[in-house]
């Protein structure tokens, strides 16, 4: 059996080199992971140790105060919740509708490609720019000032591209043969989308949307540009009221640590609360994804 045209000779030196390269690259890559983990660990350690003794039930339920011992983040929590109450319906309705139009209705042509590229680009525009846009349109032109509504709409603009793109991906992933089956029964386009496409795409849409929400809830820059007040002692009671939000609270307390050292502890405690909220949101996204994961 000498039919093979090439006679491969084993060269031990080559083999040694390849084995050495293999293990070297393994250590290199695991080192990068360890680096990221160490940074994260140090960060969490510092925040947690700063916040010890400050993060308690009173801190969550007290109003803001200039005295660090009395200060609480009730206002910021209500403000953040208020923002979400604006962002969630606005982005879900507009974002999912846009995605449905682009994926299911729009003719695949130059215009559709142009819109597509623009939406993808918008997703990577720095958030400060959205803050400026929100200030000009919602704050000034529509005269909403620095209210919850203005902030919520600005944040909606910011995360809308993310919701659109992730919903589009979810719609694209719905197999064509399911649409065919529905059309083949005499179903119209909207019936097919509502009864077949959307239920299958829903977990993907929700996962993307929740991740977008967690981006919105942690965003500071656009709110700073909108001019969210430094110190709000009044708890907002309507969408038109001025407000403060968790990331804003962190930002201002961090700025003022030079004047009052305890503000650093307050900021750390607030960071823990915000991280907790983000952690819960992301967990919900993962649970939804796993629960509804289907195989075709």
């Amino acid at each position: 059996m000498n039919s093979h045209p090439i006679d491969i000779k084993i060269n031990p030196k080559h083999t040694n080199r390849r084995i050495w390269l293999s293990s070297a690259s393994k250590y290199l890559f695991s080192l990068s992971t360890v680096f990221a983990l160490v940074v994260l660990g140090v960060l969490i350690y510092r925040i947690v140790s700063d916040s010890i003794g400050w993060l308690n039930f009173d801190f969550l339920t007290n109003n803001l105060s200039i005295f660090p011992e009395k200060a609480g983040i009730k206002g910021a929590i209500i403000g953040s919740v208020g923002l979400m109450l604006v962002v969630i319906p606005v982005t879900l309705i507009l974002g999912v509708s846009t995605a449905i139009y682009l994926e299911e209705y729009a003719k695949k042509g130059k215009l559709q490609r142009f819109i597509q590229i623009n939406i993808s680009n918008l997703a990577s525009v720095p958030s400060v720019i959205f803050g400026l846009l929100g200030l000009a349109v919602f704050g000034r032109a529509l005269n909403l000032g620095s209210s919850i509504l203005a902030g919520g709409l600005t944040l909606s603009l910011l995360v809308l591209p993310i919701v659109v793109v992730s919903s589009q991906e979810a719609l694209k992933a719905v197999p064509g043969f399911l649409r065919e089956a529905s059309y083949g029964m005499g179903a119209g386009k909207w019936t097919t989308i509502r009864k077949v496409v959307l239920p299958v795409a829903l977990p993907g849409i929700l996962t993307g949307s929740i991740l977008a929400m967690s981006r919105a809830i942690g965003e500071t820059a656009p709110l700073v540009v909108l001019g969210i007040p430094t110190l709000i002692l009044k708890i907002p009671s309507s969408p038109m009221d001025d407000f403060t939000a968790l990331p804003i609270q962190i930002y201002y307390w961090t700025l003022d640590t030079v004047l009052t050292a305890e503000y650093a502890n307050l900021a750390a405690a607030t960071i823990i609360v915000l991280l907790g909220v983000l952690f819960i949101l992301n967990s919900v996204a993962i649970v939804i994804r796993n629960k509804f994961q289907r195989s075709f």
Partner: protein, 257 residues
């Protein structure tokens, strides 16, 4: 009575041409499909047989670059006419696809999908439709105790029969089948073929198949397509035993394809 039925024409295709962009996929097709007949469409890959059957319920138009010319008369009316609504046409002309494509819903919800979108809400009536359709598709006995289970738990052959039941649930007149057994094993294939034999009592069936044996076993008439042309169309036993065209003979004797 039956004899009279046989002579009634369901489909009359006249001078049908179809293009994908600049590529012509169907060239001047003329044929008639009679009521309660099983018409098999055979030919090598890429000959246009799937394209042709998907033109009969205008599913082919889901591909945006498709253009057609010519006429397809369904009970005397041109299906390309502006007044024809595809939703209504496809209700009368059901389709079963190459790969079983149940919805990711329960067995029951799959079968009543069609009746539901056509406005039937009555639970008892839906249940009755589900039972009749599943019985007609010879699946009832296998699934009657687990109608609320997910359809993806069924075997491939059961899934395909479920898709047939789903198509029957809207009480169509014609059933188009696009290689319905190509993804199935021989036993499941035999069951589907048996089913087609009983279904033709009530329905008119057009079936694309890559298997000449299958065409021979189940069809009354056979159409042989080659490179977008209808080469020969005749009673199945005539076409297989005594083909008029040399190309048909070459194909059925296995000289190409």
């Amino acid at each position: 009575m039956n004899q009279q039925h046989k002579s009634e024409t369901v489909y009359e295709v006249k001078g049908l041409n179809l293009w994908y962009g600049d590529d012509q996929a169907l060239k001047d097709i003329n044929l008639k499909i009679g009521k309660n007949e099983v018409t098999a469409i055979i030919g090598p890959s890429g000959c246009g047989k799937s394209t042709f059957i998907k033109t009969l319920n205008r599913m082919i138009e889901n591909i945006p670059i498709v253009r057609t010319s010519g006429e397809i008369l369904y009970h005397g009316d041109n299906i390309f006419d502006k007044t024809v609504r595809v939703e209504e046409l496809r209700t009368k002309v059901g389709m079963v696809f190459q790969k079983p494509n149940p919805f990711p819903k329960s067995i029951f919800e799959n079968v009543v999908y069609g009746p539901k979108i056509h406005g039937i809400k009555d639970k008892a009536l839906l249940m009755e439709i589900a039972e009749t359709s599943l019985k007609s598709a010879a699946l009832w006995d296998e699934v009657k105790d687990r109608l609320n289970d997910n359809a993806y738990g069924l075997s491939g052959g059961q899934q395909q029969r479920l898709c047939i039941a789903r198509a029957l649930a809207v009480q169509p007149d014609v059933i188009l089948m696009d290689e319905p057994t190509s993804a199935l094993d021989p036993i499941a294939t035999a069951k589907i073929e048996e089913l087609i034999d009983t279904l033709k009592e009530e329905y008119t069936i057009a079936i694309v198949t890559h298997s000449m044996q299958q065409a021979g076993r189940i069809s009354d008439k056979t159409a042989f397509f080659l490179m977008g042309e209808l080469i020969e169309f005749d009673r199945t036993e005539v076409l297989f035993s005594n083909p008029r065209d040399k190309r048909t003979e070459d194909y059925i004797t296995g000289r190409f394809g």
